[in-house]
């Protein structure tokens, strides 16, 4: 019954929360695979809806890939805190002696590792199908990996705010999508620059700056949003 937490308390709790969320998602593989299938499906719709012309697809591929990946990442956002709120474990997370912003980050990290990162890794494959110019595949994956981390952070604020709202999925998209716009613009910009053979350092640097800003501010916003969302 010591009142002083051992020094390793937070890192222990953080790793356990991350591992728990990863295990939970992996036990229901659908949650991990469905966004990927959705991503592939949406990309398939565009050549069917527009034209199979490789030159047309190549020019719009960066935007299509980014928008489709962004929507796919949005799909799994609603469950980020909702399942925990329903079975009562979110309440326990809030009552842990560890700082809530840090623990919330563990949950965001788990979400990114099994949503944003797989989407980023899969995007080059779909890029081939859209005749994305060679040389931009690495930038596509990198920009999506960087950008989707920001999306997970921003999305977590919305997911936490709507955790107590029944059927809050549509509302969540409404709250979160406008805030996604800067990430989308610079992410697409990076891929377009790479496709045209221009330098991409500036774009990636801005994406990194957005992520850094998100990493410093979002944890506190998520923690505040969880306190509001859970107890209405």
């Amino acid at each position: 019954m010591s009142s002083d937490e051992p020094a390793g308390g937070l890192s222990l709790a953080w790793r356990a929360t991350l591992r728990r969320d990863l295990v939970l998602r992996l036990r229901r593989p659908g949650e991990v695979l469905n966004p990927l299938a959705f991503f592939a499906l949406v990309i398939t719709l565009f050549p069917l809806g527009l034209s199979p012309s490789a030159s047309l697809l190549a020019t719009i591929a960066p935007g299509l890939l980014w928008v489709a990946a962004l929507l796919a990442a949005l799909l799994s956002l609603d469950g980020m805190f909702r399942d925990d709120a329903e079975d009562g474990s979110l309440e326990q997370l809030l009552l842990s002696p560890q700082p809530l912003p840090a623990l919330a980050m563990a949950k965001v990290a788990a979400h990114w590792l099994l949503t944003g990162l797989p989407l980023a890794l899969m995007a080059p494959l779909l890029g081939v199908m859209l005749s994305l110019p060679a040389g931009s595949y690495g930038v596509l994956a990198l920009s999506l990996a960087l950008g989707s981390a920001s999306l997970s952070l921003i999305g977590a604020i919305g997911a936490a705010l709507t955790v107590g709202v029944p059927r809050g999925g549509v509302l969540l998209s409404l709250l979160v999508l406008p805030l996604y716009i800067p990430v989308l613009i610079f992410g697409v910009g990076a891929v377009q620059a790479a496709a045209q053979g221009d330098g991409v350092a500036a774009h990636l640097a801005i994406l990194g700056a957005l992520l850094a800003a998100g990493l410093t501010l979002a944890p506190f916003a998520i923690a505040a949003a969880l306190r509001i969302g859970l107890n209405g």
Binding site: I157, T162, G168, G189, A221, G232
Partner: protein
């Protein structure tokens, strides 16, 4: 000074003090808008390049100013509500949100209409109009989030936090949209960026902008007073007030 602020922070004190200011505020708002409107429509010279369609500036710019200012005001009210638990701040924030969304819509509409004679199209993905459109979505989000909560206090806190998150993001969004626009439409003609205007052109604009701000204050105060009566309807001073006015 502190005693005055303290009185202003309590619903009862606010109700009394704002009641004294309101008639004058409404008067100023109506006068400034009428003067600015007539001046801008009738007396200000036509623009040498755009002709009379330039007169749309006298409604577009004040509406756009207000659209952004109201969002900031909403976020500040939200901060005051969250930090100092002053319910009055939340009442004001709740009451100003629809006006802000309306102003954003008018700014968008007048901008689109202005686009026809200037660009020859109803909608142009111009940096300012695009930012304005995103702002409208942010307003809709805040209003919808407040409405989605069963508990009014919960909705108030959620809307306050979202407004604060939004206000941090607005500069980033504006910056990114402007960057995106220059990338895709290099050096195009932007409607509201004018070189130095003569006084007879910008004075009516100033009158309109000030008039719009006064109007915003007057509407927010009036509606906040109504909201106070609604929320505090079981308090004794509200009862006494209604008795005395009968």
């Amino acid at each position: 000074m502190w005693a005055f602020l303290h009185k202003l922070g309590s619903p009862k004190g606010f109700y009394a003090i704002s009641g004294r200011w309101l008639p004058a505020l409404w008067g100023v708002a109506v006068a400034l808008i009428l003067v600015g409107g007539v001046w801008g429509l009738v007396f200000a010279p036509a623009d040498y390049q755009q002709g009379n369609s330039f007169r749309i500036i006298y409604v577009h710019v004040p509406a756009a100013f207000l659209a952004q200012s109201i969002f900031v005001a909403m976020a500040v009210a939200g901060l005051v509500f969250m930090v100092w638990k002053i319910k009055l701040a939340d009442m004001a924030a709740a009451m100003m949100a629809p006006l802000g969304a309306g102003m954003t819509f008018v700014a968008l509409f007048s901008g689109a209409v202005w686009g026809v004679p200037t660009w020859g199209t109803w909608w142009q993905w111009d940096a300012r109009l695009t930012s304005m459109l995103i702002l409208l979505f942010l307003y809709i989000g805040v209003i919808a989030l407040r409405g989605a909560f069963v508990s009014r206090d919960g909705g108030a806190r959620a809307a306050s936090l979202l407004a604060m998150v939004g206000v941090i993001n607005i500069p980033i969004i504006k910056f990114s949209v402007e960057w995106w626009y220059t990338l895709h439409q290099p050096a195009s003609f932007s409607i509201t960026e004018k070189p130095a205007m003569p006084a007879e052109m910008w004075l009516p604009l100033l009158s309109m902008v000030l008039g719009f701000y006064a109007f915003f204050l007057a509407v927010t105060l009036t509606r906040t007073r109504s909201e106070i009566l609604r929320r505090e309807s079981s308090k004794r001073w509200v009862r006494a007030l209604v008795e005395e006015r009968r």
